[in-house]
Symmetry: C2
Subunit: 359 residues, 2 copies
């Protein structure tokens, strides 16, 4: 009942056309949700178990994201070892979005069968709800286009290092846009997460990144901001309607993802697809990678719904370290001293994030 | 007056011959001192200014140690650039101890002239007070002898990396021997200090240290424990008698330092000294280095008296980073990405040490 009430409040806000004020209002909403959760919790037994279910759900989606991201990286290494990418990446991305859409619909049909169709789980939507959904997909498309240009200024290993700026940009935008507070200890943890991830990736060529020219730095920072903004904005969209079924929200997000990726196919791979066909170069690993990307994508949405961007960043960072450890056994990787140091720093950072929680 | 009372209590404990119980009793003492400080502080204006003077003194000795350690490293780089060490290191160490002894005596004569001779600043001592003073000097001598053997298992850059184990051993022994508590956040900071210092020193050859054989690791750990134990034990000795003048305590520490270094000259450099003379190969830089080592040694004692081993470790770690930054200007050093990452981790660690203070 609490949730319904919030949703009704929410609908009234729909009149505002300004995205900034939508986000502003989200802050108020999330406070309301938090306080209603507390209200539920203080109502006794039932509230305690709601709290517990929330925690359990948060834990499950976070673990799923970590494992999926980690196996994603392993599949990439595997596919690289098996040979170069022969397929067009844009068609694979399009299939990932299509699969996510299909999986969301599948989940919804099950829910409709069990619970019936309600306001919260019906697929039909309003312009007010749907108008912001293309924005994250557009931001990612823009970021991916920029990626082609940054390689004129930075080499691939350097780009891997600079990508860790995403961690800082996500933290800063999370603070500014979602207006959520981290404690000083948690900020310290977040800076350490960025340092630890970068340290773990250090190799003998890493110092080259310091010679990056000013345009290279500016592009890296813009890309980090775009990526951080897309993540934080997705969280804002999904959390704006706490009672709205996540599968409906995902469905609409992914529909726009499909549309933007269709545009990308036309821009980048039209000739290859026209001459060699849509599925040229696909292999068993490609199919596995598409499946994995689709599931990770859904896990990211779930983390945004039930946890937040900070948890997402921690989860994918820990996944990076897990990948390296698993690769030791799978591919005879050698772990460097820098990796051990970076992993220790990341572990301490995870501890600080939990120890530093604002009361 | 409070301090005198504590000293009297202290003298009664002198009957115990067991070092362990001496250390155990120290714990009680330091609590008494702390509570009497609080008692003084709560007495009003006078107490507040005592507190302030303590803080000021702690700050001054810590800064002095940081600057001296940092300039020490710069002098070492300078002397290496000027050519190889031509003098025997043992004679230089002996002169360092002698100079420290002389400076302590000089300070004492000034104090005697101003305040007169009291129980706290008289040079004469008892067997009970002095019996533990040779222990740190003996531990350092033993550690320095081990240093010759560890190079059979680890190369010099690898040894520099392994020396960071000192940080962890100091923290652990500080906890076990001095029974002083660090908060969990401070422990997190201490682990980060070790990781950050090691990261800052990483270079393309650092990974070789991971191939260190078991005997190499064991020796490195023993050396770290010896060094940590010597430091913590010195603090125990100096803090056992809070009212005893630090210059008297230093005098006795350094007298034993002179004796042990005289032994080292005979063991290691007898032939060179006998044929080429005591001062063979001394240059202007050598004299500067001896002066700097003597002053740093005194600063270490002061930090042990007015702060503790944890502050000492932080101070010398920050000094290492300062040295690198100064070397950029003096010697055209290039700072690596690893250095920036390590420095950031150390900076966060310093913040955590202060933010995590137990209330």
């Amino acid at each position: 009942m609490e949730y319904r009430k919030i949703k009704d409040d929410d609908d009234e806000v729909q009149e505002d056309n300004d995205v900034a004020s939508d986000l502003e209002s989200l802050k108020g909403k999330s406070h309301t949700v938090a306080s209603s959760n507390i209200a539920l919790a203080t109502l006794g037994g039932g509230g305690g178990s709601t709290e517990r279910i929330n925690w359990k759900r948060k834990g499950v989606v976070t673990c799923a994201l970590t494992i999926l991201t980690s196996s994603q990286a392993i599949l990439i290494v595997w596919s690289k070892r098996a040979g170069k990418y022969e397929y067009s990446v844009t068609t694979a991305n399009f299939l990932v979005e299509t699969l996510k859409c299909a999986l969301s619909l599948l989940a919804l049909t099950r829910i409709w069968k069990n619970d019936g169709v309600t306001d919260d789980n019906r697929l039909s939507t309003t312009y007010d709800e749907v108008k912001v959904f293309p924005i994250p997909a557009a931001l990612y498309l823009f970021k991916n286009l920029l990626q082609y240009y940054i390689f004129a200024y930075v080499d691939a290993p350097g780009y891997q290092i600079l990508k860790n700026l995403n961690i800082i940009s996500t933290g800063v935008l999370y603070r500014i846009i979602l207006k959520k507070k981290l404690s000083e200890i948690q900020w310290a943890g977040f800076i350490l997460l960025c340092c630890g991830c970068t340290t773990a990736q250090l190799n003998s060529n890493s110092d080259r990144v310091l010679q990056t020219s000013l345009p290279g730095w500016i592009m890296a920072i813009i890309m980090a901001l775009l990526s951080g903004f897309a993540g934080v904005y997705t969280e804002a969209i999904i959390k704006k309607r706490p009672s709205r079924n996540i599968n409906v929200q995902n469905f609409w997000l992914y529909v726009f993802g499909m549309a933007f990726n269709a545009v990308a196919i036309v821009i980048q791979d039209f000739d290859a697809v026209a001459t060699k066909g849509f599925f040229h170069g696909y292999s068993f690993i490609t199919v596995l990678m598409i499946l994995n990307h689709a599931l990770s994508g859904i896990a990211v949405s779930m983390v945004m719904k039930y946890a937040d961007n900070i948890v997402k960043v921690y989860s994918t960072s820990v996944a990076m370290l897990l990948t390296a450890v698993v690769s030791v056994f799978l591919f005879n990787f050698h772990l460097s001293l820098a990796f051990f140091l970076g992993s220790t720093v990341v572990s301490v950072s995870v501890y600080l994030h939990s120890a530093g929680k604002l009361r």
